[in-house]
């Protein structure tokens, strides 16, 4: 229902906004006198029209692929992700060893999409720990993330039929300060020696400090982040790493829900379109640069200019 609303709203916006944008472009291209005559402020960010069209295209692709996937009723093939397949193994290991599981959802607030992706993975991990009756500990940097995580874990315990084993105090606030939080988490690892560590979210300088401490206490470690500059650290220090898009796909992959799996397929189609655009752009730009008569081909790269 909501996805239909989203598609309809975006399409309606496109229908109303494109003529307006075309008119603005016409005025701008008809010379300095016409442009100077129209001084009223634009209600549409004309510099962002390419992004808007791109967004509508992406939404349409997703909508189409999700709809066809659900209609087909067949689960699309998604490449196995070792990091997510190892979730059961990691929680099982912690259960056998009688040690807690540590979950760290990065150091950004809940308005960061990576934190939300981390909380989605938390939902699945918490369900496993609830089923196996293993303590799940989660130190937090932000109060809103903490409250959200508490609700996520509580729901997971309810779904696993173990509401009595939910411990709110295991998901706690530490400090807004990056390194104070890291010092606490490292201390926790050194004292309690968790058997499985999950690092899922947005990370900066603390990534390697956490992952190396986790490695030193012998924990099985699974990390996921879209911060490209921290990925080498996680790859070097963790057993499994979800790289960029794999991290965003994690909750869909774990849920096995047809609609969500369809969105991953839609994501792949968008990537194919982007790759085709890059290749076409390289060819057209090369031609436009090398052959003066074809300089008009620069228009293609201008379509992607972002101001």
């Amino acid at each position: 229902m909501l996805q239909r609303l989203l598609v309809i709203a975006l399409l309606l916006s496109l229908v109303f906004l494109l003529p307006c944008q075309a008119g603005a472009a016409l005025i701008a291209s008809s010379g300095p006198s016409a442009a100077s005559a129209s001084s009223t402020p634009s209600w549409f960010a004309t510099a962002k029209v390419n992004m808007f069209v791109g967004l509508v295209l992406v939404v349409l692709v997703f909508w189409y692929v999700i709809t066809t996937t659900v209609r087909g009723g067949k689960e699309p093939y998604i490449r196995p992700l070792a990091g997510l397949q190892a979730v059961d193994e990691a929680v099982g290991r912690a259960t056998e060893m009688g040690k807690p599981v540590l979950f760290f959802a990065g150091i950004e607030d809940v308005d960061n999409v990576q934190t939300l992706a981390g909380l989605s993975v938390l939902s699945h991990v918490a369900r496993k720990t609830a089923e196996y009756d293993t303590p799940l500990v989660m130190p937090n940097r932000f109060a809103v993330v903490m409250s959200t995580a508490q609700e996520v874990v509580k729901e997971a315990h309810l779904k696993a039929g173990r509401p009595d084993t939910f411990k709110r105090e295991n998901i706690y606030y530490v400090s807004d300060e990056q390194f104070a939080l890291v010092a606490h988490t490292d201390g926790f690892m050194a004292r309690e020696k968790p058997a499985a560590n999950f690092y899922m979210g947005s990370f900066y300088a603390e990534s390697l400090i956490l992952a190396e401490t986790g490695h030193s206490v012998g924990a099985i470690q699974i990390a996921g982040t879209a911060n490209a500059h921290q990925l080498p650290f996680f790859v070097a220090a963790c057993d499994y790493t979800l790289i960029g898009e794999e991290f965003y796909a994690a909750s869909a992959y774990l849920s096995r829900d047809l609609q969500q799996l369809g969105s991953i397929k839609g994501q792949d189609i968008c990537k194919i379109l982007i790759m085709a655009s890059i290749l076409l752009g390289v060819v057209l730009e090369t031609l436009a640069t090398q052959v003066p008569a074809l300089s008009f081909l620069h228009f293609f790269s201008r379509l992607f200019h972002v101001s």
Binding site: S13, A45, F179, I209, E245
Partner: protein
């Protein structure tokens, strides 16, 4: 209903932000400003509530000698020693609060950050062990990049007859960083951006509800 109302709020909130990004319409900007003001007011009251709560919880633990009460006492004392001079004299450089920030907080933070150097060394030691062809390739590349970043690399190469004159490690290092590394990083970034859009759309459309508990 318990599920539908939060989903609707997420949808409306997200769509409003989306519209605000593309449109310069007065009412949308005003609504965003109203939300921002609400957040500021809630934040201010939450801060007073938080301070009150912090004092009450920790004072109770100290007074009842709960195990670990010493840490609670340190927290209370640190809070008072920082807050009182800060409220009375401000926190700029030259004030007591600024002094404590420069002398205690900054070195403690720098100490934690400084640990990173040792962790990089230990992680690199493990990562660069030539266990297979890929790891060996990584090791060789890492050595070239490290040598290319210091003058010693070019100096060593210059001692090699015939090729030393024109083959510079710094140039190879630069090529590795600018061509294959930048290309691979951009591929990861583009894929991650598409993934972020996909995940955001799943949230906006209410397909992914695991971030607030569940699917039902």
């Amino acid at each position: 209903m318990k599920r539908q109302i939060p989903l609707l709020i997420v949808f409306l909130g997200g769509f409003m932000m989306l519209l605000d990004y593309f449109l310069h319409l007065g009412p949308i900007g005003e609504i965003r400003e109203i939300f921002a003001n609400w957040a500021r007011i809630a934040f201010t009251f939450a801060m007073y509530l938080g301070i009150f709560n912090l004092i009450m919880v920790n004072a109770k633990k100290v007074l009842t000698f709960t195990p670990g009460w010493g840490y609670n006492l340190i927290l209370l004392l640190s809070f008072l020693v920082t807050a009182v001079p800060g409220i009375l004299k401000g926190y700029q450089t030259g004030t007591l609060c600024g002094y404590m920030f420069d002398v205690f907080y900054t070195p403690l933070s720098a100490t934690m950050f400084g640990l990173l150097a040792f962790f990089i060394a230990s992680a690199a030691f493990r990562a660069f062990r030539a266990k297979n062809v890929e790891a060996a390739l990584l090791l060789v590349t890492a050595i070239i990049v490290m040598l290319g970043n210091i003058p010693l690399g070019d100096m060593m190469m210059s001692k090699i007859p015939a090729i030393g004159e024109w083959l510079k490690v710094s140039k190879i290092q630069n090529w590795i960083m600018v061509q294959p590394t930048a290309g691979a990083q951009r591929a990861i970034l583009i894929a991650a951006a598409v993934g972020a859009i996909s995940f955001s759309l799943r949230i906006l459309a209410g397909l992914d509800r695991s971030y607030f508990g569940g699917e039902e």
